[in-house]
Symmetry: D2
């Protein structure tokens, strides 16, 4: 039903993984590609981080929970991808990377990372957030606007249906996924004087 692509089929799944329909939205709406450097946070099983690594130059994924970091490392090894690093660190305390093209967030409180994303992003880079609930979206959007460092943020949702093409006829599948998450995006202004004070940084790269 989820139509995982060959890369994702190699991976071990944790309790919740981001699905191809939403991965696609992040790739297409940010336009990241072979030259992009991405910071990902809330690694989970690593589905999003590895999908980004499959496309981008380099991915650094923050995960503070040891057991998830282990799962991601196992999945990196299964994927064969070499351009991804797991950082066992709390992204709420800061992002050490600079000049990155995308900060991709899959965390309940993604809004709390916006101030760090401002520091990490290059001018014109994107922050994206995967947010199941409306309240999270509102908080994220309000926080982004308050920084005054981003262009107007936007939010989309993707309702995907599989279409059955069978002997008896053409029709959408009867049952399936109705909602995963809202996807919020904001692009850092092209010419911005970083005026947001950032808390101290911690985190050890693995």
């Amino acid at each position: 039903m989820y139509r995982l692509n060959p890369l994702l089929r190699k991976l071990k799944r944790g309790p919740q993984v981001i699905l191809p329909k939403d991965l696609g939205v992040i790739l297409a709406f940010t336009g990241v590609g072979k030259k992009s450097v991405v910071v990902d946070a809330g690694a989970g099983s690593g589905f999003l981080a590895l999908s980004l690594a499959n496309v981008c130059k380099k991915v650094i994924t923050y995960e503070r929970r040891e057991e998830f970091a282990e799962l991601v490392k196992k999945n990196i090894s299964r994927s064969g991808l070499k351009n991804i690093k797991v950082k066992i660190a709390d992204v709420f305390e800061g992002i050490v990377e600079r000049d990155v093209d995308l900060v991709s967030l899959d965390l309940a409180e993604s809004d709390r990372v916006v101030c760090h994303a401002v520091q990490a992003l290059r001018a014109g880079g994107f922050v994206s957030a995967y947010l199941p609930h409306a309240e999270q979206v509102k908080k994220f959007v309000d926080t982004v606007k308050a920084t005054n460092e981003f262009e107007e943020p936007f939010v989309v949702e993707c309702i995907m249906r599989e279409i059955l093409v069978r002997e008896e006829g053409f029709r959408p599948e009867t049952k399936g996924l109705l909602h995963t998450a809202y996807l919020a995006f904001a692009r850092k202004k092209e010419n911005t004087s970083a005026g947001v004070p950032e808390p101290g940084l911690k985190g050890s790269q693995s």
Copy 2:
């Protein structure tokens, strides 16, 4: 409304372009990445070909109409991407490339290219088709199945809504796109003895 990413915003648009929501589906469901070689056909304005080139190692795009080929070349130049070639050739007459990871089709009669895609694809590679009408989907799926060279094909549609987060509240936008196209996918079997006879090939690479 279409939320074109920075790459796409640089391009000149022809009458119909594939939108980010559908680009994302193609990227995510095929899993193409930095190592992938793609043949694209029905270049149009080059939006799909350039989005693939942004992510993949190499893209060859077939376009038989001179004026569209010119538009694509102009757009390649605007994009700054170097890993894409326009071939002024009729893809219905054949694909000369071999061992490609994806054959991406945006043509009214994509079904007529399936026999060539079989020849061009590596084992495990994908053919994708962007098809506005149900009848096209049925023809494409039937043709794919008839080759016996692909795993079971699948078809999806992506209904995307932009979500407004404003002073007055959170809600989806009132009006917008309800349909662009169905997206059909088929993966070439891992171990397949190519048994489909192919018509003669033509086409000059530019």
Copy 3:
């Protein structure tokens, strides 16, 4: 999940029943009300017929399969509604009623009833069809157009999502129904000279 209203909750369900979301579309797009007389065909469990009877002056429902007719009668008795009759008859052979406001069809081959609907409907009355597959829709629409007795037909689909409003936040439900059927409608022309020859009629009212 289906949110059956109090009337429907009283009924015994057969294998497939039309759901409130689709009942609502039929009621709202045809505008039937207290003064309307309806012929329904393909009674099934009687959900549609009884929902129409709840709103309309009189409903006659055709069902040729004895066991379903029994189920409908049982459900009529459970509902307490008095303005509905079950006719054990084959609607493909004809409709005896005249001047009806709506002919409501839930049959695989609804197109084969269009010629009878023309005879049964008053000028300005509607025929509606509940059709799961695209091919059925096409056949129905083409048949309607060929009669030249109806205004331009139209077809809709209703994608309904339940919204969860909980402690943890506001979001659409994760899984549920993605498709039931397409709903096709055609209104008989206001001034029409019934020119469609109709096969002989049969059927005994129960």
Copy 4:
């Protein structure tokens, strides 16, 4: 595009009217019918009130703005329906009717009418609310729950697409409505001891 039924086509439209897709949901999810008495509030152009009157025994619609009340009266006259009364009164101050089957709300602050709906509804009757924004939905649901007089409320949204069946093929329409409103419903408990104190009532029936 809106496919107004023959009743609605007779009416004069104000700036915003409830559309058939949403009317249908209210009819089908509450199950109101020929025996039902309905109180409607926020008459607007009267589309909802008149659609309910077309189906129900009696409708009383509250509208405090004189100019809208005039529009509704004009529309009642156009419709030919006799079982509907306009009350120029502020529903936030109370509902005088008792034992009604449905209180149907189309007001920005529908939550403020919940306490009056409790008084007006018979046991087993419904309150429904048409609410464009998520925040309104949350407030309404929370208010309903706080009364402890209703079964668990539920909320749905209906995404409707028109399907084009043409020479060139079958597909959903390209552009159209993506959102009108969320529809919230709550059913008054069957055995309830009305324990909610109600403010004083005002309002003159016209």
